[in-house]
């Protein structure tokens, strides 16, 4: 059970860190100054959530692990983030769509996690939910704005959906550790949040005048350590200093 709880906590931490890292790549390059600030802020929230979760995973591990050893010294096979979080940023349509699909998921997810039998996870959920509420509002607005903006922005949003949609199935496919913890009231039952997520996505897509793809195939594996080729490059960049100068304090 402890191993499952560690894996589950790492899964949540990795989601927050990897998407935070991706969003941070926008800092200084956003389409408008206000939006540069907004996306950096969302990135910062992700990194903050990741820190809370890694710190908890380190305590649970009880083997000298720290938030930094967990973030900087694990390899691709150890990371348990959803594949959607590691996809390249693409253009502003892809970035805001990915954020919307993920934030809608995270919003309902944390609402459930607040009721977790694990008090620490419940507390982190409560803290994070305030931030995620804003992420969801901000990203919904962008999906609507671009879908219902110009012909060009509409096309780009449609293209973004084609790029990303197949990575949403994984959101609701429980990993082995999730199934085990859901039974004991610790992990969120994904079947409960799936219809809420679908409703939200339908409503926002309708306002954005874009359609949900009829066909989809769920790309999966992230939760169990089988990733896209992109994650290796993220880690190579992110972990560079820790790997090049082992044991140094920063």
């Amino acid at each position: 059970m402890n191993t499952s709880l560690i894996n589950y906590t790492l899964h949540l931490a990795d989601n927050a860190l990897i998407l935070g890292h991706r969003n941070s790549e926008w800092c200084g390059h956003g389409p408008a100054l206000e939006q540069d600030i907004a996306i950096s802020n969302i990135a910062l929230d992700g990194i903050g959530q990741a820190r809370n979760l890694y710190q908890y995973a380190a305590v649970l591990s009880n083997n000298g692990a720290t938030e930094d050893s967990l973030a900087y010294l694990r390899d691709v096979i150890d990371f348990k983030n959803l594949l959607i979080t590691e996809l390249p940023n693409g253009d502003w349509a892809q970035t805001t769509l990915r954020q919307f699909l993920f934030s809608a998921y995270q919003f309902y997810f944390y609402q459930q996690l607040e009721k977790s039998a694990d008090q620490q996870l419940a507390a982190i959920a409560t803290k994070s939910l305030k931030e995620v509420t804003y992420h969801l509002r901000w990203s919904s607005e962008w999906v609507i704005r671009l879908g219902d903006g110009t012909a060009e922005s509409h096309d780009k949003m449609v293209k973004a959906i084609a790029e990303i949609w197949n990575y949403t199935g994984e959101l609701f496919l429980p990993a082995s550790y999730e199934k085990e913890l859901a039974a004991s009231g610790i992990a969120v039952d994904l079947a409960v949040i799936q219809p809420l997520w679908e409703q939200k996505v339908s409503a926002v897509f309708a306002e954005a005048t874009i359609a949900i793809p009829e066909k989809s195939f769920a790309q999966k594996g992230g939760k169990e350590g089988i990733h896209t080729e992109h994650l290796g490059y993220i880690l190579a960049e992110m972990q560079f200093l820790q790997r090049a100068y082992p044991g140094a304090e920063w």
Binding site: L17, H21, S24, E25, C27, G28, H29, G30, P31, A32, L33, E34, Q35, D36, I37, S40, N41, A43, L44, I47, G48, A50, R51, Y54, E67, D68, A71, Y72, D91, W92, I144, R145, L146, D148, G149, T150, E152, S153, K156, E237, M238, F240, L241, Q242, Y245, G247, A248, E249, W250
Partner: protein, 327 residues
């Protein structure tokens, strides 16, 4: 024709009176506000200075942004990201302050992209190691603060108020930068080497940040008279050198200037000759990263065009729908 001439003369006389009244206000330390009368040259000087300052914040995000994805731990990553985000915020306050003088943000961007408007040359140097995040905080932000603190009392109200907020955050950044260097200086030999190399590269460009020597600074006299500027370039540079010469001792590192030594008589540190040729070359566009920095800004702006157009189009659609609903 005669009456026209008299009218023009009267106007010229009025203008002179206005200028006198304006100067009296300045002398009495009364803030100038956007709707107040001001000489055209005062307005233009401020637009130039504030927009240049705003552009420096935005271009300044790039060299540090370069290390966000490679920050060595989660705490440093969060601090650096927050810092670069602060700079975007400073850009916003400053563009807004400049807008009160009758220029739009888009016009200012255009001036930046065309090369008409300048930004601080320091950002045309590359960030090659993590230690550069420390050196930029300590030296570059340190020099910026030295320039900016007096601007909190500058004569133009919106600029002065923007600077109060900017300075609060900048002094925080400067302490963070020093702390990065302090950690490196107490770390492994490889980390000390990183810190030494970084200070060697950033020291001279940092003291160039105060601008040309007083006798070669064409705008200083008028700017001092209008109290836009309160200290000369050389006064501020000396103050900065004096502070750094003491702080480097805490780092147990060396400032790369063999002529740096305390002058008892003057009560200040003497320092070596600045390479003004390098200074003017970088301003002329020949710094190591001038092209990269400007290209990055232009790319963000051009690739963001469709996003901004979509936002405008959607806002119009919404407004129209709302109007139809009300009708």
């Amino acid at each position: 024709m005669i009456s026209f001439c008299i009218f023009t003369l009267q106007l010229m006389g009025m203008e002179k009176d206005m200028e006198q009244m304006f100067q009296e206000k300045i002398d009495k330390e009364i803030r100038i506000e956007p709707k107040d009368w001001m000489p055209e040259k005062y307005r233009q000087t401020l637009i130039r200075q504030i927009s240049q300052h705003a552009h420096s914040e935005i271009v300044g995000m790039l060299p540090e942004g370069n290390w966000i994805t490679r920050a060595p731990n989660l705490r440093r990553k969060a601090i650096l990201l927050a810092k670069v985000q602060d700079e975007a915020g400073h850009g916003l306050y400053l563009y807004s302050a400049a807008e009160t003088l009758g220029i739009s943000r888009d016009e200012m961007y255009e001036q930046l992209h065309s090369g008409k408007a300048k930004y601080s040359s320091i950002f045309n140097y590359p960030t090659l190691s993590w230690a550069d995040m420390g050196a930029i905080g300590w030296l570059v932000d340190g020099a910026a603060i030295m320039n900016q603190v007096p601007l909190c009392r500058t004569s133009y109200g919106p600029y002065a108020r923007a600077m109060v907020r900017v300075c609060k955050e900048e002094s925080f950044h400067q302490r963070q930068g020093f702390e990065i260097l302090l950690t490196l200086s107490r770390g492994t030999e490889a980390q000390r080497r990183m810190a030494r190399d970084s200070i060697n590269r950033w020291w001279w460009p940092s003291i160039m940040m105060f601008g040309p020597k007083d006798d070669e600074s064409p705008n200083t006299i008028q700017s001092m008279k209008w109290k836009i500027k309160r200290f000369t370039n050389d006064e501020l540079r000396q103050k900065f050198v004096d502070i750094c010469a003491e702080q480097i001792k805490i780092l147990n590192l060396t400032i790369p200037d063999p002529d740096l030594k305390w002058n008892e008589e003057k009560g200040h540190y003497d320092f070596g000759t600045i390479n003004w040729d390098e200074f003017w070359q970088v301003i002329a566009g020949n710094g190591p990263c001038n092209k990269e920095r400007l290209d990055a800004r232009k790319k963000a702006w051009e690739e963001g065009a469709w996003v901004r157009e979509a936002a405008t189009a959607h806002a119009q659609k919404r407004a129209q729908r709302l109007a139809e609903k009300r009708a």
